[in-house]
Every structure is written in C-alpha cells, then in structure tokens.
C-alpha cells in the first residue's frame, strides 16, 4: 500500500495507455468469436447463432484458400531470397566507405524511399510499366521487341512487388546492420591488417561474423512473418487478371469481408492467419534464442 501511494503517479500515467490497449487491441481479440458464428448485424455478435467450425470447413475446402496460402508464402519466400540479402550487401559496402561526407549524402538518399507511401510508389510503378508510355516498355520497344503489359501478366506480379519492395526498403534495411557493425571491436581490424589481410578478407573474416547474430535474428523474424505480405502494395498493384498469383491473405480478407460482406467467413480467414502467424513467430523467437542466445524480445 505504501508502495502504491508513493508511486501513485506512475500508475496514473499508465491508465490512458493501458485503456487504449485494452479497448483497441484486446477487445478485437475477443471479436474473433465471429469466426465461430453466423454473424447477424441485427442480433449483434453475442446474439448471433454459433456454427462451430463451419466457416473453417468452408475455408479449407475452398480453392481460393490454397491459392491465397500459396501466394502469401511464395511472395514472402521471394522477398526473403532477393530482398533479405540486399541490405546486408549494401551495408557491407557502406561500411567500407571512408569519405564521411560521401557516406552521409548517399545514406540520406538511400533512406528516403522508405518514407514514400505505397500509393505514391504504386503510381510510379504503374507509369514506369505502362505499355504505351512507360519507361520500361520504351526501352523494350527501342530494341525492337513488342511492349509487355506487365501489370496484366500474372507471371510478372511477384517480380514487380519484390523489386518495388527492394527499391523502397533496401537503404532503410542497412541501418540495423550498420549499427551492428559499429559494435565490432576495431582492434580486430587493426590486427588483421598487421597480419596482411586484404579488404575483402577483413570483410569476410571480421565484419560478416560480427553481424552474423543480427543476420540470423532478422532472418528468423522474416520467416516468422511469412504470412504477412503487406496489404497496400498488393492491393494497389493487383487486379482480377493477376489474382492467380497476387491474391494474398490481407487482400482476400478485405475483399470477401468488406466488399462481399461475408463477415464471419472473413473473420475465420483472418483468425487462421493470426494463429498460424503467432505460432510461426513464437517458433522463430525460440529458434533465435537457441541459436544465438538472444531473442527478439
């Protein structure tokens, strides 16, 4: 009691934040009961009839489910394959830059795309890929080839999204690796230099092992998020013709829930994604702790 009185202000400070979390983060978690009901707007959540796992049965039997699951995973896999190493390479290169002014200027420019919205970037992508006036097709036609309708071809969709994501995020992604590199003991480099190690050898044997823990943790974190692709970039660039390769959990839930109004079914889709995502991320954290002795949180 004495403790509470002495620290009353600390608890008073906490009230708004905790109330916010309770209402806007925890209340929706209870809303997932919608997935087990046949939601009637008139009767409300609690008055609606229970249907058990019926919504999930529909989901697992749906051809869309396989497509959405495959697209979500494949998009993440490509993103990890191409997008994950990119900032590591760039950070290794930036770390070798000796001219501080040059480094500062390039870094400022490299971070910039991160702050641009997907709506803006989608606008740029759409125009650059336009079959009539787009820059990419101008180059293609100048070599005597037929223009390509990139956004109409399901086969190009993943490449477009992954390239756009790399362009947007590669510079920003270097921050964490550069931070890890500043933590490497400089005497290691000094002694390697005395032993006659070349620049590449110093990168190979000192810098890369020095950031290995960070790399592993971030890789696992990415694997844990394999069902999260980001709604905006896909939503803004896909269209019914490319659903085959483009439709992911986020866009599917949005379409069937808010556009078709199948609220219970959409909640079931969302719950499936949340639960699998939760298990994946917990496993990733467990793996990170096992491998590096550090965990993500």
């Amino acid at each position: 009691m004495r403790y509470l009185i002495k620290n009353k202000w600390l608890y008073v400070f906490l009230i708004p934040g905790l109330l916010y979390l309770l209402i806007f983060k925890y209340v929706p978690m209870f809303g997932i009961v919608i997935a087990f009901k046949k939601l009637s707007i008139v009767k409300g959540i609690w008055g609606s009839d229970w249907v058990g796992f019926q919504n999930f049965e529909t989901l697992f039997q749906s051809a869309h489910f396989i497509r959405v699951l495959r697209n979500s995973i494949l998009l993440s896999v490509y993103q990890i394959l191409w997008g994950f190493p990119a900032p590591i390479l760039l950070a290794l290169m930036l770390n070798e830059v000796r001219q501080m002014l040059f480094k500062r200027i390039t870094q400022t420019i490299l971070y910039l795309p991160h702050f641009i919205s997907w709506v803006v970037l989608a606008g740029i992508v759409i125009n650059f890929l336009s079959p009539t006036s787009g820059l990419v097709n101008q180059i293609i036609t100048s070599f005597g080839h037929e223009p390509v309708k990139f956004l109409m071809e399901p086969g190009y969709f993943r490449s477009i999204i992954v390239s756009a994501e790399i362009w947007k995020g590669v510079g920003w992604g270097t921050i964490i690796y550069l931070a890890a590199m500043t933590g490497i003991d400089p005497t290691l480099y000094e002694s390697a230099k005395i032993d006659g190690a070349s620049r590449l050898q110093r990168i190979r044997y000192i810098t890369i092992p020095g950031i290995a823990t960070t790399i592993i943790i971030l890789l696992l974190l990415n694997l844990g998020n394999i069902l999260d692709n980001g709604f905006e970039q896909v939503f803004l660039l896909y269209n019914p013709v490319t659903y085959e390769t483009a439709d992911i959990f986020e866009t599917y839930t949005y379409r069937i829930g808010l556009q078709d109004g199948r609220l219970s079914y959409a909640t079931a889709v969302g719950l499936f994604k949340s639960v699998v995502g939760f298990v994946l991320i917990l496993s990733a954290n467990y793996a990170a702790r096992k491998i590096s002795g550090k965990s993500i949180w």
């Binding site: 934040g17 809303g31 420019i109 919205s117």
Partner: protein, 294 residues
C-alpha cells in the same frame, strides 16, 4: 598518420554505391521533371531528367480540384492530432515502464508484446469501430495507429538510459513525478521524441489502409485516397490499352495524363521531403539505440 592511397577497392565500391544511390534518386527526379514539362515533351522522352517546355499547367489543374484541398486538410488534421496524442500517450506510458522497480511491469510488458504478435484481424477491428460509431469519421484514421508496441519499446528503452541521479536530485528537492517527467525526462528525450514524431507523422501522412477500410464519403477522404483516384486512371491505361491500338477507348476512360499524376505525386510528397532532412540525424540515432538493445 600515413596518407591513405586510394585503392581500386575504394573506387569500385564508391562507384557501385553511387550507381545505387542514383537509381534511388532517379524516379524522384523523373517524376518532378515530367510534372513541370509539357505532355508532348513527356511523350517524346518519358525518361527525361531535365525539364523541357516548362509549364505549371498540371499543377494549376490539380490545384483547381476541390477534393485535393479537402483531402489535404483532412490529412493534415489527422497527422497533427495523431502525432500530438500519440506522443503524449507514448511519453505517459513509456515513463512508468522504464522504471525497473515498477510492480506489475513485466506483466504489462507481456501484454504490450502480445499485441505485437496477435491481433483480432480486419473484421473484429472493423466491428469494434462500428460499435463505437467511428466508421466514416476522421477519428477512425487517427485511433488505430495511436500506440504501437514497437514504438513504445523504443521510447521505454531510451528512457531507461537516462541517468537515475538526475531524477533523484530533483526528488530530494521535493519534485513530484509529473514535474520530473515533463521538466527533466521529456527534455532529455529529445532525440527519441523527434524520431517517433517523424515515424508517426509519416505513418499518418502515408496511411492508406485505414482510409480504404473506414472512410466512405469523399469529403472525409485523406490525401492517399485522392491520390489513388488520380492514379487509377493510369492503372486503367496500363491494363486496358495495348500498344496504342485502342487509343479511343483510352480516351473514353477519361485517363489522367501522366503530368497531372506526377504533379499530384510531388504535391503529396512535399511535406515529407521538407521535414525529412531535418529529422534524419535524429532517427538514425533513435532507431539504432532501440534496435541494438531490442
């Protein structure tokens, strides 16, 4: 110190970095240049990086668009209120959590982290907002992003590193917790506050998701919905027209010329491009501190 000679490695490395940096810069330059060039100059060479037949026609046209100004105003209102409320909430919540002696601290931290791992999903969130009568209001754009676990942990970590002695000295002089928080801790937390201001401001400015989910009326549109409307025109060209064989169809679809879209893109980005250089030095420090400690 010995003079360092420039090695082949340095030349190669700097060249590659320069090329990558130019690739990052190119779309910005191109979009800006096209937006102030005539449409015929764009058709002649869409890749241009130097304006030709400079004209501000495109800007004049978008400035005359009524939805531009209402959506601009909506976005400003949402961004300013979101940043002010959000920062206040982060400060108030992070400060007690930065105290190691706080009883119940671990429990609260678990509750915070749990919100980062699991969420109800789109429909339950929508349903909640509906029950609270927030659908189709600007508040629906502000509230969902007010407090995130990630930012809260960044600020808490920063506050943990403020020397305890400063607070102790004030306490001996009879200062209360609110006084210590707002007169001592907050002024010392400048870098992290600036970082979170930038992050949340950019988040609100760029936010598209909440808008598409919660907003219906055109007069409540934020900037990103307006921008998307302008861009949809280009998407239609990209989808429906071949190599110019059905230009008539394209004209029927009322396609927005590229210059107009680019002018809108630039106009939407201006505030971010203006603030960015000033806050940049802070966020690198802020994010590094948070990420290293994690």
């Amino acid at each position: 110190m010995r003079l360092r000679r420039v090695s082949l490695f340095d030349i190669l490395n700097n060249t590659v970095i320069t090329i990558i940096t130019l690739l990052m810069l190119y779309p910005f330059v191109n979009v800006f240049v096209v937006s102030i060039s005539s449409y015929s100059a764009f058709v002649e060479n869409p890749m241009r990086i130097w304006p030709k037949q400079v004209t501000f026609e495109a800007y004049k046209e978008i400035f005359g668009h009524p939805v531009l100004w209402s959506s601009y105003w909506n976005t400003i209102v949402v961004t300013v209120s979101g940043v002010l409320l959000g920062i206040l909430l982060y400060i108030l919540t992070a400060y007690p959590l930065s105290k190691k002696h706080l009883r119940g601290r671990n429990l609260i931290m678990i509750a915070v982290v749990f919100t980062m791992l699991f969420n109800g999903g789109l429909i339950p969130n929508y349903y909640l907002m509906r029950s609270l009568g927030l659908i189709n209001t600007l508040a629906a754009l502000v509230i969902p992003a007010l407090l995130t676990g990630f930012n809260l942990i960044l600020m808490k970590t920063f506050m943990e590193n403020i020397p305890e002695e400063l607070e102790e000295a004030a306490r001996i002089d009879g200062a209360s917790d609110p006084y210590i928080l707002f007169r001592i801790v907050v002024p010392l937390s400048g870098p992290i506050i600036a970082t979170l201001c930038l992050f949340t401001a950019v988040g609100y400015w760029n936010n598209f998701y909440s808008a598409i989910v919660y907003i219906r009326d055109v007069d409540k549109w934020p900037l990103m919905l307006f921008l998307r409307e302008i861009i949809e025109g280009a998407k239609l060209t990209s989808i429906s027209t071949g190599a110019g064989d059905n230009a008539a169809e394209a004209a029927n679809l009322n396609i927005t010329p590229v210059t107009l879209q680019y002018a809108t893109l630039i106009f939407v980005m201006i505030p971010i491009l203006c603030v960015y250089p000033f806050v940049q030095k802070y966020f690198v420090k802020g994010i590094m501190l948070g990420s290293v400690k994690g």
